[in-house]
């Protein structure tokens, strides 16, 4: 595989970890501080096992780090540069503009 492709494959694994509504919701919530799985389960509104799988996917990708204290496992963002990215996203007009730049 050419080097340029290798780089984009690694990067896309990280992006993929954020490219799901529930996972992005989790990332956004964790921008305000760490949370345990049961808190996140309430936020997302899915089965705990589903949330847990989302979390381990995000941890695998390097987006989150976890920390076990007592019975709970707390998750938090591995990097706080995500905020700028989310602000960037909101500038992209969804679907409408076909031939014009947004910014």
């Amino acid at each position: 595989m050419p080097p340029r492709k290798t780089v984009s494959t690694k990067r896309s694994a990280v992006i993929k970890a954020l490219a799901h509504p529930s996972r992005l919701l989790i990332a956004e919530a964790l921008m305000e501080g760490e949370m345990c799985v049961c808190d996140l389960k309430d936020l997302v509104g899915a089965d705990m096992s589903t949330v847990s799988k989302h979390l381990s996917l995000m941890r695998q990708a390097g987006v989150l780090v976890s920390d076990k204290r007592g019975l709970n496992i707390y998750y938090r963002l591995a990097c706080d540069c995500l905020g700028d990215f989310l602000r960037c996203l909101d500038q992209l007009a969804p679907k409408k503009a076909t031939t014009q730049s947004c910014c």
Copy 2:
């Protein structure tokens, strides 16, 4: 759907448009300037129809804009804030660190 979820669903559509190795490769290439479909086909190394479908998905999501000139259709990034995001991604150590933050 609660408002917080609506927002993250819209945002995740944009992220999804970048969450594929070929599509990210395309986005990275377009950071250096516009390209037509056949240029991108050579870069990605897939069938032109496949590349075309990736491009229309990205345009739908608002990540790219297109511009027809003669026989060619030129694509370029809708927003140049992506560069900062990609730099952020590279700080996230893939997979290794389980309990430590990267930055």
